[in-house]
């Protein structure tokens, strides 16, 4: 578990990461309620965006390893690629889960109206995994950390808007409504709606199931071993 330990340490060593990982989630707790949309406080509606950013920031650590040639050295070390990847991902997942717990229970303590905090936490955790997997698949295409981050950032904006996280999906034209389902952010938005209005638990499990399917697909694609 050495890699796991160091992955945790490294994630917090960078100032920008520290802000992303601690200050922003705390700020999310204190954002106000919307008037008629979104149904949850803004901080919780937009927390998904933050999860996407944190996902790519954490995943670029792996890209940084590749850029600096650490992966090359690991290739000759008595450590398998699977160990390296799984322990890194485990560390990132732990960070993301802690962040979700912080945000949800912080909100409960602060007195935000969260309807079903337990399920909300579950949804955020599922989405965190999906976000991490997507980020992992994304960085597997790139060689440069900065470029991958900037392009991903611009992509995130489009995905957030098309997924209906920032604008209610009801006002979308018909075609865009259909296309929205492709994006994982749509399922997060659906899940958030369920938290407020949902009754049938099966619907909610289906939503989470889809997020898990996304996680599996992108982990499979992103786990390719690239030395350069």
């Amino acid at each position: 578990m050495t890699i796991f330990k160091f992955a945790l340490k490294r994630s917090f060593s960078n100032t920008t990461n520290l802000i992303f990982l601690t200050l922003f989630p705390i700020a999310c707790i204190f954002l106000p309620n919307g008037e008629d949309w979104p149904f949850l406080p803004y901080g919780y509606q937009y927390f998904g965006i933050l999860i996407l950013f944190v996902g790519i920031r954490l995943a670029t650590i792996i890209l940084e390893d590749r850029e600096k040639g650490v992966v090359k050295r690991l290739a000759v070390a008595p450590i398998s690629h699977f160990q390296y990847l799984s322990q890194n991902l485990l560390a990132y997942s732990v960070i993301l889960i802690l962040q979700c717990i912080l945000v949800v229970f912080g909100g409960v303590l602060y007195g935000q109206e969260l309807y079903q905090p337990g399920w909300l936490l579950f949804l955020f955790v599922s989405f965190s995994f999906a976000s991490l997997a997507i980020a992992l698949a994304w960085i597997s295409i790139y060689r440069k950390k900065d470029v991958s981050f900037l392009v991903y950032m611009s992509l995130i904006f489009i995905v957030i808007i098309l997924g209906g996280l920032m604008i209610p999906i009801e006002i979308f034209p018909d075609l865009l409504k259909r296309i929205a389902i492709i994006f994982p952010t749509f399922w997060l938005a659906e899940g958030l709606n369920w938290i407020v209005f949902g009754e049938n638990i099966l619907d909610f499990l289906l939503i989470n199931g889809v997020l898990w399917l996304y996680t599996i697909i992108f982990i499979i694609i992103g786990s390719t071993r690239k030395i350069y």
Partner: protein, 243 residues
């Protein structure tokens, strides 16, 4: 006037930076397109289609980020990579820095105009007063460049200056209340209205559309004033850093 001969290469370097092109041209084009599909048919209280309103806001929002390329080139040429080469050249380095700023401003304005043309020709967005809008865009571009350079000159680590410039962009978008309404107190009120270049520029374009010349010029002049004051600050900081 040897600086003049470098302008060609400055422009080439800017145009070839495809990440900047992606972030400042392709992304806004996509966003404007998506929004115009999503918002088609909706109008504001004043009867303007929400789509036109949104396109104008987008063009101005992306001007907030226009300074990043100037910042990058100044940092590269005058502080790190090319420093020795530039200082050994027989020309005035200050003039060279200004030429980069100027090119950056023109480039940023050009991207804004391309967005406007795209929105009008492809999406059918109606722009009220072209000249006025371009003037406001230029003010925003210059302001963004000056602010970015102040960050570059005042902060030791370039990474932090870069982050600060992002904070400047995203922060003012947040303060303008685009994502969610800001709490109501004196601080947020000020930065949601006259203390925010984004709201000022949007307001100026609005007022001009409704032919409130006085109010429009007032808001634009605040921007101009900010530019002049910050330009002085930038000069002082820059002289200290380069000297």
């Amino acid at each position: 006037m040897r600086v003049l001969s470098t302008i060609k290469f400055t422009v080439l370097r800017m145009v070839r930076n495809y990440i900047v092109l992606l972030l400042l041209l392709v992304v806004p084009i996509l966003l404007i397109t998506f929004f115009s599909y999503i918002l088609s048919g909706v109008t504001t209280e004043t009867g303007v289609p929400l789509r036109d309103e949104n396109a104008m806001q987008m063009v101005l929002v992306f001007q907030l980020f226009g300074g990043s390329i100037v910042m990058y080139m100044i940092y590269n040429d005058l502080f790190t990579e090319n420093k020795m080469r530039i200082y050994s050249l027989p020309f005035n380095q200050t003039m060279y820095a200004f030429s980069i700023m100027l090119c950056g401003a023109v480039y940023s304005i050009l991207l804004g105009v391309i967005l406007m043309v795209y929105a009008q020709l492809v999406l059918g967005v109606v722009w009220g007063n072209w000249v006025w809008t371009i003037y406001i865009i230029s003010l925003m571009a210059i302001l963004s460049i000056i602010v970015c350079l102040i960050f570059t000159f005042s902060v030791k680590k370039y990474k932090i200056a870069e982050r600060l410039s992002e904070v400047y962009g995203v922060g003012f978008v947040l303060l303008a209340g685009f994502f969610f309404p800001m709490p109501e107190n004196a601080f947020f009120d000020f930065f949601g209205t006259y203390g925010n270049p984004l709201t000022l520029s949007i307001g100026a374009v609005h007022e001009m559309d409704q032919s409130n010349l006085g109010e429009a010029w007032f808001q634009a002049n605040i921007l101009l004033g900010a530019i002049i004051i910050l330009f002085m600050v930038m000069l002082i900081l820059g002289r200290r850093r380069m000297g």
